[in-house]
């Protein structure tokens, strides 16, 4: 524990700015993955243990598209689109067979997909780790804001992630399809009885969830190492975020993701050896006192 350092940091504007942006960037990418996870759980009651794999495949597809076209934007879009398609196939071929089944059966199927995809990545891209490299537009020195260091690339990432998060909440809150998705989360049978094809709706939800994870993987590809199995740590963190925020609550996921990012960025200064433990303890405490998470609905 190093409380002096933590105190020193929160009283210095440069440290505050730097650590806050670093917490935000970690949190926002996490949010994109967790948002899909929580959306899928909310509507389909499926715990998608393969969500980290979506993130990994998104990053690899983005990497290949970037190598092919030389465009970071096209790379990210390819990652998102690719995972939207993959999400639909995954839902139709596998997940649709275990709706309503025990969570262990879902776990089994998702884990099988994780195993298969990790090896497929190894076959297609090889066991080495890759780095996409910074797109030339962002190979610029960092900005200094109030004495704090802020790289332009990360400002872009935060803005894009916020925009995607905002678009998602507008979609869910204001459009008819969004209202239908939220209604289906509550009562899919009734939605079906109103003439809405829930099969299609479920595929759509998986497409959106997959796309978010794929976009996050693509967006992060310039700064994170690509390796088979890279989806695992992001999966665990997304689960912590979803559980803390309340499974099924997008807003909860956003808040929990940012909080987790900030816990990590300030925790690494104050509790350098215990940040991981902090996350698990936070999760246990919240589950014990509020079993459905901060913003989750009590499940019946």
């Amino acid at each position: 524990m190093d409380l002096d350092a933590l105190l020193g940091c929160v009283t210095s504007s440069s440290c505050l700015v730097t650590q806050t942006t670093s917490g935000l960037i970690v949190g926002m990418l996490l949010f994109m993955v967790a948002a899909g996870l929580t959306l899928i759980f909310g509507v389909l009651k499926i715990v998608n243990f393969a969500h980290g794999t979506f993130y990994m495949l998104g990053a690899y597809i983005a990497y290949s598209a970037f190598m092919f076209t030389g465009s970071y934007v096209l790379g990210v879009l390819a990652g998102g689109l690719g995972m939207a398609i993959f999400g639909v196939i995954f839902e139709r071929v596998l997940i649709s067979r275990v709706y309503g089944a025990n969570v262990l059966m879902q776990l089994l199927i998702c884990y099988a997909v994780v195993l298969i995809c990790d090896d497929l990545v190894k076959i297609v891209w090889g066991p080495d780790f890759y780095a996409m490299g910074m797109p030339p537009a962002f190979q610029v020195p960092p900005l200094f804001i109030a004495g704090g260091v802020v790289p332009p690339f990360y400002i872009m990432l935060i803005v894009v992630a916020l925009a995607i998060g905002g678009a998602l909440s507008l979609l869910l809150g204001l459009t008819r399809i969004g209202k239908i998705i939220r209604a289906a989360a509550h009562n899919p049978n009734m939605v079906s009885a109103l003439g809405i094809n829930t099969t299609l709706l479920y595929s759509l939800v998986f497409a959106v969830g997959g796309m978010l994870a794929g976009l996050a993987g693509g967006l992060a590809a310039p700064v994170r190492s690509l390796t088979p199995g890279m989806g695992f740590s992001i999966l665990i963190e997304s689960f912590i975020v979803t559980v803390i925020g309340g499974m099924g609550s997008i807003g909860g996921a956003l808040i929990a993701a940012v909080v987790l990012g900030l816990i990590r960025s300030f925790g690494t200064i104050g509790f350098p050896l215990f940040t991981e433990g902090l996350m698990y303890i936070a999760m246990i405490i919240i589950l014990v006192f509020k079993p459905s998470g901060l913003f989750g609905k009590e499940i019946v």
């Binding site: 650590q19 970690v26 190894k122 080495d128 780790f129 780095a131 960092p142 790289p151 199995g229």
Partner: protein, 413 residues
Amino acid sequence: MKPTEPTRRTVLTGAAAVLAAPHIAGAQAKAVRIGMQATFSGPLAQSGITHRNAIEMEVDRINAAGGLAGRPIEMVYRDSKSQPQEAARVARELVNSDGCEMLLDAESSAGSFAVQEVVRDLGVLCIHSSSETSSLTADPKYRVASAFRSSRQGIHDAIVGGAYAAKVADARKLTKWATCSPDYAYGRDTTAQYLEYLKHFKPDIEVISQAWPKLGQPDFTEVITKLIQARPQAMYTALYGGDLTAFINQGNIYALFSAMQVFSVNLADYTALTAIKNLPPGIATGNRYVVTCPDTVANRDWGEAYRKRFNEYPTNWSWQSSTGMRFYEGAAKKAGSADPKKLAEALRGLTIECPFGVDGTVTMRAEDQTVVGYAIGWGTTLTKPPYVADVKPADWGTIFELETEWKKRNGFI
């Protein structure tokens, strides 16, 4: 995967040869089976694969030259999936069921300790070619008579790195230091040892900040910003592999590498050097494997031969396994036999010619059955191939002196 099972025919002809003329040497003699287990799957699959690549090269060469005392080598490869309990099981299976007379263990850290216990129980001959944890061979508590090591040791790296860093620090007046190493035993031990020797050579060092990211952590941003906040003049990192490339890529956008002199013990391995798209120049790095250290024809030739065959450069793992096979070869030559007991006897204190030796040879030190005399040095990065320049080879005299002191201090001798 390469075929690991002997075909029925080779087994049969082998047996026939033994029955007909047990003492005839050459291609017809019974093959010596060597079991090799490593991680071939998961995120660390690259380690097993590059270990195996190097072994294949050596086996082809040794067999073409008549094998081990006239008996050809036949490798049996097994995947332990980075799990110590699997490593233990696979090691037992290799010996008990697959008829391997000796092992080449390419497990890292925990796995190698699990294999060490199997070696102790079964009394089988084994060379560890991956674990860099010093205590595996240095601590008499863990030592096993039939277990050897052909891989580098953390303590050697720490001494050499400390000495090199002290010189740079002296010249450039670097007194404020930070560290950033993976939060597990390897990272903590090597960092502590490194700092210890850095202070040994330059006592006025002050460590002002230490960061401990998790192994495999996808994002190092908060660690990087913490380091920048601390404003050190120099930083040491024991990160490696994918974590190191992510760290460098993420550090780049914060201009971390122009803000401080970075010492990275594990950067000079092609697997990292080639993966980083914008390698910052001027990072001080210890050699893992580069064709320019040692800067000899033999090493260059070996590195090029590897690249030609596998279409990529060898790794640190490659040279270590290659050295392990060369030790088996040398021991068989010395003993005139491929009998494991005689090989073990011959291995103790054996000096062989080796492209990775600082003077063209390496020695299996008798007292703790570990390799010494391998090329170890530090240089600085370039943005383009050969990536690392100006490699200063270490002085093994200093290493031996400080290593002995360290062993005494820990009660190992």
